[in-house]
């Protein structure tokens, strides 16, 4: 029961998890209308990384390098990020139902994106992302200001988040109903349900960078998160600077959620279910839980997105629809298991 061996013992597990993630990404890339082998994937990626000549025809090379690889990597980053945000918010807010969207960030993002689409500000994917990001930040700022006004306790944050969620969904519906034509509505809807179809290398790089930074911040606060188990006073009595920790972690998760939502739309349930699944496997200690949830979320979303783009070929199912279809039964099973264990 000594801790140093415990820590060392976890290393092979992380290695195995990363291996599983790499294998999942590689396997997912081979799946699709154009049949591509794992070997071709490795050789193409290797060639691009070394900067040498493509080994396949330009079309097949493009499918791997410009379509499937960024999309799969964005799925992995997005899944990991949402799961990490879910872990942090559930622990910090002491609410097992908290997820990355409880801070109102996703509904703010959709309002921002819809405004860009409907009002035709700018044009193209970049301004859509920018609009979504601005909306997300605005919604979070509103939630933070409101909850501070109401006393600043964490349960207020949850209530204000729910209020903001309702407000911004109403705004979104209002804008869509009054201003959008049928074609725009369809585009907006697809985006609201979440999609990784428009993944680009820029988005992958930005999202991955923010994910790494936020994960590092959360890991640095992992013992403080453990101390929140019995509430804010208990955490303070254990030496945690509650106000600072709360602010840092809320802002970090809101930033990560905003970045993810602005490139993929609102992909539901990953941030709610995966933390519970990871907790059921590795326990509630955050130094282990955070990386485990990140890995589980990454592998999960890679496969769900692969299913989303291939089950009703050639049509694409919005990935958010599939995550919920899979997530709800999984959620019930997990909750049932933890109930019987008590």
């Amino acid at each position: 029961m000594s801790a140093v061996p415990t820590r060392l013992r976890t290393v092979p597990w992380y290695a195995a998890g990363l291996g599983l993630l790499a294998a999942s990404v590689a396997a997912a890339i081979t799946i699709g209308p154009a049949s591509i082998g794992v070997g071709e994937v490795w050789r193409t990626v290797w060639a691009h990384l070394r900067g040498s000549e493509p080994v396949l025809t330009p079309i097949r090379d493009g499918i791997i390098w410009h379509l499937r690889l960024p999309r799969t990597l964005l799925a992995a980053v997005c899944g990991a990020g949402l799961a990490v945000c879910g872990v942090v918010l559930q622990s910090l807010l002491r609410n097992p139902l908290a997820d990355p969207f409880v801070l109102g960030v996703s509904s703010g993002a959709s309002t921002g994106a819809v405004l860009v689409v409907v009002l035709g500000v700018g044009g193209g994917a970049l301004s859509l992302s920018a609009g979504a990001f601005a909306g997300a930040v605005a919604a979070f700022a509103l939630v933070l200001a409101l909850s501070r006004l109401l006393g600043g306790q964490l349960d207020r944050v949850v209530l204000c988040g729910v209020a903001a969620m309702q407000l911004f969904s109403a705004l979104t519906s209002f804008i869509v109903l009054t201003a959008a034509d049928a074609e725009t509505t369809k585009g907006v809807l697809f985006w609201l349900l979440g999609s990784l179809a428009s993944a680009s290398w820029t988005e992958v790089a930005v999202a991955a960078g923010v994910l790494v930074a936020v994960l590092a911040v959360c890991l640095a606060h992992s013992r403080a998160l453990d101390a929140f188990a019995f509430g804010e006073d208990a955490a303070a009595a254990l030496g945690v600077d509650v106000a600072r920790t709360r602010m840092v972690l809320l802002c970090a998760t809101a930033l990560l959620t905003a970045v993810l939502v602005s490139s993929t739309g609102a992909i539901g349930f990953v941030g709610l279910v995966l933390p519970h699944a990871a907790r059921a496997v590795v326990g509630a200690g955050h130094p282990r839980l955070l990386p485990a949830a990140a890995l589980a979320g990454a592998v999960f979303l890679v496969w769900v997105d692969t299913a989303a783009r291939s089950v009703i070929d050639p049509q694409e199912v919005p990935v958010g629809v599939l995550t919920s279809l899979i997530g709800v039964p999984a959620f019930v099973v997990i909750l049932h298991r933890t109930r019987t264990r008590r």
Partner: protein, 266 residues
């Protein structure tokens, strides 16, 4: 010197919870806080723990004002057992006790030999060694209170603050827990409802009413029939046994004693 509150005041919603309270703990002794519900016992404990800041006045630790000390430094000295602290997280007894090492551990450092010893000793002192792997959610109220005490002991504090730690405990567990706390070589402040338990286990008592100190001193001086009538509005008969006062409550009508439990004053 150890923990001391100097003329602390705290208001909430236009209502004074504490009004110029001065309390000084003697090192290594057990100080009991008494008073009816709403007298300000919990608020005073929260101020002493630095969880709440006084509106006026100052709380000091070894003479240093608390606001000037980092939270972590305070938590290495002062441990708190709240009235009732529950969690939804699936934790074992060992997990909870380990939380007590939080202020002693670095961000990235693994558990040290000292951490392990402190946790082991805290479990042993509270008789929980065999239950280390039991789930928190399967524990009774009394067992949870003991786990919280073990967690507080794992902090290796020099000051221990307890807010009605014997609530929800049967009489055997009340005696166990207070005997354990009183025997610790650390400075303890404990809010209690039971006057007899306070008389048995505290070296010094402070009686609060409406946020003010009514009287303070050794139990034999503080617990008098007029004081109990004045503060609690209850008639009592007090006998002394080897210097320890014993309180027997009387009904409003006659001199009939109504049982031994002083919790009726609550």
């Amino acid at each position: 010197m150890t923990l001391a509150a100097d003329r602390v005041t705290r208001a909430a919603g236009g209502h004074l919870l504490l009004d110029g309270v001065t309390v000084a703990c003697a090192p290594g002794t057990t100080l009991g806080l008494l008073g009816p519900n709403g007298a300000g016992k919990s608020t005073l404990l929260r101020l002493l723990a630095g969880l709440l800041a006084p509106d006026t006045g100052v709380v000091t630790l070894d003479g240093d004002p608390l606001p000037g000390l980092p939270r972590r430094a305070i938590a290495r000295r002062v441990a708190v057992v709240e009235q009732q602290a529950d969690t939804q997280v699936d934790l074992t007894v060992l997990d909870v006790v380990r939380l007590g090492r939080t202020p002693h551990r670095g961000t990235w450092s693994a558990e040290s030999e000292e951490d392990r010893t402190a946790v082991r000793e805290a479990l042993a002192a509270t008789g929980l060694t065999d239950r280390a792997d039991q789930s928190w959610h399967t524990l009774s109220g009394g067992e949870r209170q003991r786990v919280h005490l073990a967690r507080a002991l794992a902090q290796r504090p020099r000051e221990l603050l307890l807010d009605e730690p014997t609530n929800h405990l049967d009489i055997a567990h009340q005696l166990d827990l207070l005997a354990l706390v009183a025997a610790l070589p650390i400075t303890t402040v404990v809010a209690l409802h039971d006057l007899n338990l306070a008389a048995m286990f505290c070296d010094h008592l402070v009686v609060l009413r409406g946020g003010r100190v009514v009287i303070s001193g050794p139990p034999a001086d503080v617990l008098t029939e007029p004081l109990i009538a004045d503060v609690y509005g209850v008639r009592a008969h007090i006998t002394h046994h080897e210097g320890t006062p014993h309180v027997r409550f009387l009904t409003a009508q006659g001199d009939q004693a109504v049982g031994k439990s002083s919790t009726r004053t609550a």
